[in-house]
């Protein structure tokens, strides 16, 4: 027998996570419910014109996604704590960062599904029409989602052994994500309004993604094996 490689373990862990989610629907249901709540409540709170919508939608969209993602990220690790299954992974020769990678990709898929489902609702509730090109919005969406789930997965793993992990995660995650949050909100707003070029913010998001993905991959073994 040979110790398994990172990608083989990532693939099987991702397949296992998708199967678990398909059967339990824990993460996707709570995310959808939460995001829907934010959209509806904000639509009652504001009654924006089309022009105002373009200016505030960037913030609204990412606030909804951010809070919903936190719910999903907590769920991702919670299922590894039930029956202490994480210990079975820790005693195996499987590389620690393989688990991290699979969790990030899994959460990325869940949050992307949420965004796809929520976009028509946002357009409908806020009467949104983008002036800038939609393909730029797609790039921002992918980069911003990756930024959220990479950090979120890492810090959710750090907080799983704390007593109030649901509170701990946003407390740690939000401050460290401020550059990414600024970039995703401004890039989205500038594409929607078409006033300025969003590329500075898109580049910032890309750099943020590369830096945090690398750092998290390197440090994850310490987090996984911390007592």
């Amino acid at each position: 027998m040979k110790a398994p490689g990172t990608f083989a373990v990532s693939r099987s862990t991702l397949a296992k996570d998708l199967r678990l989610e398909w059967r339990s629907k824990d993460a996707i249901n709570s995310m959808l419910f939460f995001a829907l709540l934010v959209v509806v409540v904000f639509s009652f709170a504001f009654d924006p014109t089309a022009e105002e919508s373009r200016k505030i939608a960037g913030g609204l969209v990412w606030v909804a996604v951010l809070f919903a993602a936190v719910v999903a990220l907590n769920q991702t690790w919670a299922r590894e704590l039930r029956n202490n299954v994480l210990d079975a992974y820790r005693v195996s020769p499987a590389p620690a960062n393989a688990m991290f990678l699979s969790k990030v990709i899994g959460s990325f898929i869940f949050v992307t599904i949420l965004e796809v489902l929520m976009t028509p609702l946002f357009v409908m509730f806020y009467n949104l029409r983008s002036i800038g090109p939609l393909w730029e919005l797609a790039i921002v969406g992918l980069l911003a989602t990756w930024a959220l789930v990479v950090n979120g997965t890492f810090f959710a793993a750090m907080s799983i052994r704390t007593r109030s992990r649901e509170i701990m995660l946003p407390l740690i995650l939000f401050p460290i994500s401020i550059p990414a949050i600024l970039a995703m909100v401004w890039a989205t707003t500038q594409i929607l309004t078409g006033e300025y070029s969003p590329w500075f913010w898109i580049q910032l998001l890309a750099v943020y993604d590369v830096v945090f993905t690398t750092v998290c991959l390197v440090l994850f073994e310490i987090v996984l094996n911390a007592e």
Binding site: A3, A8, S12, T13, S24, A88, A94
Partner: protein, 241 residues
């Protein structure tokens, strides 16, 4: 008094399966283990007994590499780097370490992948060895406690480990199943595996036990061949006191 280092318990020229040197573990102010020294020869079945909170599970977790000792050194299969020998070690904990939403075969298939095993037949064999049907489609969450324990044992022996660490494998298991599991462990020992079993059910392990270790207050207090009579029926011994 801590148990003395016993180099004579391991034959000359043989690398101990597990060596513990001055193992101490603190949880805050509480000392779960206090300067434990011992060598354990390969190919034997060790039964670890002791009261709740004596430090048995902590010792097993340290040997498994799940916990760092506060002080001291542990060598497993000849190395201090436990990650290097993870492939050769099997661990079964108090909790089943299985996903409730998957059936036993799906669980084992996933864990087999963590050991680089792609052969479904090995998963099926492990389940059959513990008396479970590999074709059973029921999810582990719907299993009885006894079935979960057996599935958990199947997960631990799946990759045919040289060193097997079992923490209370018989809890909530009926007597017949427990005896079957003990015979399986005996057979594995006969094949040269080293096995540590933490249990409160000493009589179940008596027929296959090579050495009995008693932990009390974080120290190894007894180490004997076979299980001493007074430990086989602790309730009777307690009543006589």
């Amino acid at each position: 008094m801590s148990f003395l280092y016993t180099p004579d318990s391991v034959a000359a020229g043989t690398t101990p399966a597990v060596s513990l040197f001055e193992i101490t573990k603190h949880f805050g102010r509480f000392a779960a283990l206090r300067g434990v020294n011992a060598d354990f020869a390969p190919g034997k079945l060790y039964v670890i007994l002791g009261e709740n909170g004596a430090g048995k599970s902590t010792l097993l977790r340290i040997i498994a590499g799940l916990m760092e000792p506060t002080r001291g050194e542990v060598r497993v299969l000849g190395t201090k780097k436990l990650r290097e020998v993870a492939m050769r070690v099997g661990y079964m904990a108090h909790a089943p370490l299985l996903y409730d939403e998957l059936d036993a075969m799906e669980n084992l298939r996933y864990f087999a992948g963590l050991y680089g095993i792609k052969d479904d037949a090995m998963c099926a064999t492990a389940l059959l060895r513990v008396g479970l049907d590999p074709s059973l489609k029921r999810r582990v969450g719907q299993y009885s406690q006894g079935m979960r324990q057996r599935a958990s044992l199947a997960r631990a022996i799946l990759h045919d480990p040289e060193l097997l660490l079992l923490d209370e494998p018989f809890s909530n298991v009926d007597v017949t199943s427990a005896k079957d599991m003990a015979s399986l462990l005996g057979a594995m020992r006969d094949q040269g595996k080293t096995i540590f079993v933490v249990t409160h059910q000493a009589p179940v392990m008596q027929p296959v036990c090579d050495e009995c270790i008693v932990i009390a207050g974080g120290r190894l207090t007894t180490r004997e061949k076979g299980i001493p009579r007074h430990l086989l029926s602790p309730y009777a011994a307690e009543a006589r006191r």
